[in-house]
């Protein structure tokens, strides 16, 4: 099990900051190189369940998990490398009307927490994400989310092998979740 020390944490942070910069610079093909080819990228849907009274007085009563789509319930997104590549390549076409003209995005990544993973050599990383998304003249929106990643050390850096994005909405108040979180 590799040691989680300040040097490692700093390298992981730098990796996430670089990823955010690449995405804000619309270098989507470069972003694909940060992913493993067997990546699973999911955004569970989120709803307000009826409180489970059997769990009252315990922390499970308020668990976030019960608000997220599970098993066969339909998530917002559930993608592999192929679909992510289709999304990335599509953005560069002249008739890709949701990306042309492109959105002005700014990603803020914080609360990076590096944990050991059951997968040998890999790390679980939690991070918080805020995205400012601005299109046309003044179609401005903010997204906030938690990301749960599995990252794999590769050469001098890392690759993302798994990403789960937990959004903080019930009714989504932005026009689309079609961006890379």
């Amino acid at each position: 099990m590799p040691e989680i020390n300040l040097e490692l944490i700093s390298r992981v942070e730098q990796f996430y900051f670089r990823e955010a910069r690449i995405l804000d610079n619309r270098q989507f093909n470069q972003w694909l190189t940060l992913l493993t080819e067997d990546i699973r990228y999911t955004i569970p849907s989120r709803h307000v369940p009826q409180p489970d009274l059997q769990k009252k007085e315990t922390e499970a009563f308020l668990s976030v998990e019960q608000e997220l789509s599970q098993g066969l319930e339909t998530p917002y997104r559930d993608e592999d490398f192929l679909i992510l590549s289709i999304r990335a390549m599509r953005a560069f076409k002249s008739n890709s009307w949701t990306d042309s003209p492109p959105a002005r995005t700014r990603r803020f990544v914080s609360n990076i927490e590096v944990l050991a993973s059951e997968q040998p050599g890999c790390f679980e990383v939690f991070s918080n994400l805020m995205v400012s998304y601005s299109r046309h003249q003044q179609d401005n929106f903010f997204y906030t989310a938690q990301r749960k990643d599995l990252i794999k050390p590769e050469e001098e850096s890392f690759k993302i092998a798994k990403r789960e994005v937990i959004l903080d909405w019930n009714v989504i108040t932005a026009p689309s979740l079609s961006i890379f979180f």
């Binding site: 849907s45 709803h47 998530p75 559930d78 679909i83 599509r90 019930n170 689309s176 079609s178």
Partner: protein
């Protein structure tokens, strides 16, 4: 602005010219709620979402929140989600199972038929309120068609099957296709679009003309587009409802008729085998013609829509003239194996729902249409809806009025229906 009684300025007599302000005017919007949403059957949800007694989902009739619940005797009830005491919503979840809806303010408690069962303060006062008069306000008519639950605020409304008319022949293509029926998996995906509620409905009524262009980055030059131009029809089964289908010619191999659900997921050999297998049963259930029918998109007046290839059901809930809360669900054969359900849903999540590529393009076009409608100095420039005018007519194999795939008769009939409803409502009240 005051509403003149002459509605022909909003929708021309032949439906080919539509005034921009029908998408933006607040006074017209109020009339829509009163004379359309309070008078017609509005989709509430699917029976698979509330199978057990005590199950409930929440929904809307226009902007009015409702609880759709299954009572102990299996009957389905639709009640307005607002306490009879001070108006606070008594249900705060999207879905769940409960015997009681309790108002958080003073604890007035209602059962899943909407009846008031207890007032905690009652014991401390002398006059006993008549609880039978203080239930949640009920939506008086609730009926289902093949699992689709509708409700209507107007007690006098025609039966749901009469309301749907020949639309049922087309609805059966999905809702009666499988022996065990279909089911919804999970809560609705809900998102806000800065557009008028009618535009998403119009889009699903049969607007296939935008496909290769708005969605050009994904669809341009694909066989789906060629097939649509060759075999596609826009159908108005009853004015107000509309749909677009491909009727494949006699003798077309089965794998080219499989409901068009194959998509990217259909490239998986297991999914493909499932689709082929399930298609074999279609002609026995629905007849030979419908085994060659590949539906594309449907809308049921006023605000329920479907997209067949991506297996999604959706509603367009108005939030004022310039905003829509769009709800969308993935629908699948109930008896399909779990791994097939999981694989096929990719055709939905990749393309539709809030994260979908095609959906994002549609949402963008709808909100841009709102911007273009909500401008000054253009009242003399109505929108042109005349494509294919006068071309539609009866078809030897399909019910309804059938036109070519670019015939905009679906929209003309929808807006004429809209005009007629408002005209009747306003004149009736005058």
């Amino acid at each position: 602005m005051s509403i003149p009684m002459d509605f022909s300025q909003w929708v021309s007599d032949d439906g080919s010219h539509i005034h921009r302000r029908i998408f933006t005017d607040p006074a017209l919007y109020e009339l829509e709620k009163q004379h359309i949403f309070a008078k017609t059957w509005v989709y509430m949800g699917h029976e698979s979402q509330i199978e057990k007694s005590g199950d409930f989902i929440t929904s809307y009739i226009a902007e009015t929140p409702v609880i759709v619940s299954r009572a102990g005797d299996q009957s389905i009830h639709v009640s307005i989600n607002s306490c009879s005491h001070r108006g606070v919503p008594v249900c705060r979840a999207d879905q769940g199972n409960t015997r009681r809806f309790v108002c958080p303010y003073h604890n007035w408690t209602f059962n899943n038929k909407g009846d008031l069962v207890s007032i905690p303060q009652e014991r401390k006062v002398c006059n006993k309120p008549d609880k039978s008069q203080l239930g949640l306000k009920k939506v008086p008519r609730v009926e289902s068609y093949k699992g689709l639950i509708f409700a209507c605020m107007d007690e006098q409304v025609e039966s749901l099957t009469d309301y749907l008319g020949d639309m049922t022949w087309y609805l059966d293509c999905l809702f009666d296709r499988f022996e065990g029926g279909v089911e919804i998996l999970g809560s609705p995906h809900k998102w806000l679009i800065n557009c008028n509620w009618k535009l998403p409905v119009e889009n699903h009524l049969g607007d296939v003309g935008h496909g290769p262009y708005l969605h050009g980055s994904l669809l341009q030059g694909t066989p789906a587009v060629t097939e649509l131009e060759q075999f596609g029809h826009n159908v108005v089964p009853k004015p107000g409802h509309g749909l677009s289908v491909r009727l494949m010619p006699d003798g077309t191999p089965a794998e080219q008729c499989m409901l068009g659900m194959d998509g990217l997921a259909g490239m998986d050999p297991e999914v493909n085998a499932y689709l082929q297998e399930s298609h074999k049963k279609v002609s026995a259930r629905l007849g030979e013609v419908r085994s060659r029918l590949k539906p594309l998109c449907y809308s049921v007046y006023p605000n329920l829509s479907f997209l067949w290839p991506n297996m999604t059901l959706r509603t367009s809930h108005p939030r004022g003239p310039g905003q829509t809360e769009f709800w969308s669900w993935f629908v699948i054969e109930k008896d399909a194996p779990a791994h097939i359900k999981e694989k096929l849903r990719m055709n939905y999540t990749m393309m539709f729902g809030p994260g979908g590529l095609l959906e994002g393009e549609d949402s963008e076009a709808w909100s841009e249409q709102y911007k273009g409608s909500n401008i000054d100095f253009t009242d003399d420039r109505t929108f042109y809806y005349g494509l294919g005018q006068g071309e539609a007519g009866p078809h030897p194999e399909m019910p309804g009025s059938v036109g070519s795939c670019f015939d905009e008769h679906y929209a003309r009939e929808f807006y004429l229906q809209w005009r007629q409803r408002l005209e009747q409502g306003v004149n009736h009240h005058a």
